[in-house]
Amino acid sequence: MRFLQGTNVTHWGHTLGLCHPDSPGIFVETRWLDDLESLITSGDEVPKQLAVLLGDLLAPGDAYPVDNKTLERMAELDRLYLGWVPGLWQRCGGLITGAQRLAASCRIHERPRHALPSLPASTAHRASVIASLDGEQILVLDDPDGLSLLLAQNKAVTVVETNGPRRRWLESQANRCNVRLTFVESLADAKQADIVVVSPSDPRLFEACALARPGGILVATVHPPWGKVWKAFATDIGLEVFASHREVEYVLLPGGRVFDAAGDLVLHQRVGTLTPTRPLEMPSTYWLDIDSPAHTGLQNPCEHLADALAGCAPWPEANRSLDRVGERDALWWSAAHASGLVAELWRERQRLLVTISPFSPELSFAAMAAVSLSLCDDSTRFRAHHGRWQMQNLSTE
């Protein structure tokens, strides 16, 4: 029997992206989803056409609830990025192990909706911080990495999740871990909670904040470039920041890589009635700054990036323009509604700059994923750029 081992699948909407740490990423049509799921769980027979596409990714073996190769990679990444935080492993060792196993048990991912998937140690750290707060009822808006399962060991957790692969995964893991999760399909069905966990890119933000009871706590994972606009929004609606854990939220990318520009875990208290305000203003522009990109010796590295982007992007490709002058390669990629990005690669300087104007959270994650799948190796780094808010001391801005 052959299985799909060490490979993770991301459902990008119009494609399925397959990532293996030792192979370049490939994209296949979405009609193969059920077959891929079978290959992971039960090692079924493979349709010939799919077997050709998968090639060496198929290997003889047994079905495991947790993929060992993914588990090893998660442990390695956790050590690299958060292994040095004093006492973290002593304090949250069990949670970290649990989060790593959860990450290795989820083999088919959906494109992130609002919350971004975190490095297991980041998820465990967040769970540990939230578990230490006053309050028994927790509402989690969007849970791509199993935070609710870690919290449900000691708290009553409700997850807003419509029926779909992620909910099925959370349910199966809740059964495996013998914990109880309550699911609601929309915010309208949710009750007020002591603690509400949100992400700034979620359009249901104000309604979610209002679900924190007066005196309750709102926990936000704030990634760049949301810092500044989030602070303005939170202040306007009447939330008070009482703690910020700076740069502990690392985003996990397809292909087993990490986005170095970590987010902050910001804790707010709802002190009274929330003031309705205009929706959170989206940052206007964003850029990804990548050091030491790999495979720059290829004939046209930006074309590889464009191909990966076409697979991951939230919209079909409408325009692709490539240019090469001296050491510089350039790509303009855009969708039909004129949103897009520019990638500038300086081969000798070993820099890749991806600018996204106007900023779109979906395109931004797709760009990170596309770079991770096409132009990365272990020396490639996504440069962290501190938002202006992060550069300031919290109390002095």
């Binding site: 206007s284 325009n319 350039a330 303009w332 509604h337 070993q350 700059l353 104007s357 780094r381 919290l394």
Partner: protein, 432 residues
């Protein structure tokens, strides 16, 4: 002011480049540019060694000198403690008392430092980072050598019980180390040396561990690491900072000089600037082991000929220019038919040769992309949000200026507010 020893008043920090300087007032976040003779006097004052006539700097509007020896500046203590807190809140409560005392001693040392040399890249790590570096060495006392100690790591190491020796080029840092160590009852042996000169024989092969934070370029890595490895006993280990952009280069050097990379702690080191704010520079902390085959180059008895000690790989990226114009007044004319000639005219005005041009017209938005020899220009107009974005890479003041003027004249003739923000990597203009 009488002619007795004075120091710079609390909250003022001096930075010195080759012939100019800057004075930062942390209390009100103001910066003053300096040049000429005043620099020399201010440098002495920052070191607590000034005893000349009263120092008057008319534009500052207040005296800059306080009578008495140099001491910990409470403004720096408060600023750094606050900055550290957002990182430390995840773990500080769980630390043993000895580690907390070590942190206090490091913070005190940093608060004595009122002068930075920009020309040699002085940019200290946060005291919080320094403590974590020291904790990584474990609890057994070790013989540790600091190859440069701009960050006062020696203070934390000594406070945690290690035997510490420091090689440092900056006499101010050496002086502060002496004073803080004496006050806290710590034993730190210091040598004011230039590492380019050969090592004295008595230091070769003497230490268990070296720690260093060089600039991330080949010459600086080779000099600092070679001195570190030369001073290690067989089987000894070292810790060095590596900027993420230099990962590949560092691995190449490890292969060439045959030392082992044992542990890599990504994004371990955070730094601050003379304005007492978080610096955009950051680095990894890498544990390296000396092997039987390790070949320090230059060797301990040689001078270093490296010329490029103080440039950073992380700076090698063109600046990004972003202009945002909000609430444009008449979106009917924000269509390709009008936008394309406007952009063409702007580009012609600054004699820029366009290599490729692409336009994407959406229902509510238009994007025009121009590839030029050195980079690109993107003009994006969102008619629904009534917003124009202009992106230029690399940032070119002339291109941005001309295009921005034409866009404002056409779409925002009654501009209300224009703000700019600039840092090392971006130049942003925001018009509302």
């Amino acid at each position: 002011m009488p002619e007795v020893a004075c120091h710079l008043v609390d909250g003022l920090i001096l930075t010195i480049a080759r012939e100019t300087g800057r004075l930062f007032d942390v209390r009100n976040k103001k910066t003053y540019n300096l040049k000429g003779e005043v620099l020399e006097s201010l440098e002495k004052l920052a070191a607590g060694n000034y005893s000349g006539p009263a120092l008057k700097i008319p534009w500052l509007g207040e005296t800059v000198a306080t009578v008495g020896p140099l001491q910990a500046d409470p403004v720096i203590v408060d600023s750094l403690a606050e900055l550290d807190q957002t990182y430390m809140c995840s773990y500080f409560d769980g630390l043993p008392d000895r580690a907390r005392q070590a942190y206090d001693a490091v913070l005190t040392a940093h608060a004595h430092r009122k002068r930075f040399w920009e020309s040699v890249g002085q940019c200290p790590a946060l005291p919080e980072t320094v403590l974590r570096r020291a904790l990584l060495l474990g609890e057994d006392p070790l013989d540790v050598v600091c190859v440069g100690d701009d960050d006062f790591l020696s203070v934390a190491l000594a406070a945690l019980g290690h035997h510490v020796t420091v090689f440092e080029i900056d006499e101010l840092v050496v002086g502060i180390l002496g004073k803080v160590a004496a006050t806290a009852g710590l034993e730190i042996e210091t040598f004011e040396v230039n590492l380019r000169t050969p090592l004295e024989e008595r230091f070769v092969g003497r230490f268990d561990v070296f720690v260093t934070d060089p600039m991330s370029n080949r010459d600086c890595f080779e000099l600092f690491l070679s001195r570190g490895f030369s001073m290690l006993r067989p089987g000894g280990k070292g810790f060095t900072a590596v900027h993420p952009a230099a990962c590949r280069l560092f691995r190449e050097i490890a292969d060439e000089r045959k030392f082992a990379i044992a542990n890599w702690h990504r994004r371990h080191n955070r730094y601050y600037g003379p304005d007492m704010l978080l610096h955009e520079y950051e680095s990894d902390w890498v544990e390296v082991h000396k092997t039987d085959a390790t070949e320090p180059q230059p060797d301990a008895s040689s001078y270093s000929l490296g010329m490029d000690l103080y440039t950073e790989m992380f700076q090698r990226r063109p600046m990004l220019g972003i202009t945002t114009i909000e609430d444009i007044e008449d979106v009917r004319f924000a269509m390709p038919f009008y936008l394309e000639p406007l952009l063409d005219t702007a580009v012609e005005n600054v004699e820029l040769r366009v290599r490729t041009k692409s336009t994407q017209l959406g229902l509510d938005a238009t994007s025009i992309y121009l590839s030029v020899a050195r980079g690109h220009i993107v003009l994006h107009v969102d008619r629904k949000k009534r917003r124009i974005l202009l992106e230029t890479v690399p940032h070119d003041a002339e291109v941005t200026g001309v295009t921005q003027c034409m866009l404002l004249a056409a779409y925002k003739p009654t501009q209300i507010e224009l703000t700019t923000h600039t840092d090392r990597s971006t130049f942003e203009i925001h018009v509302r």
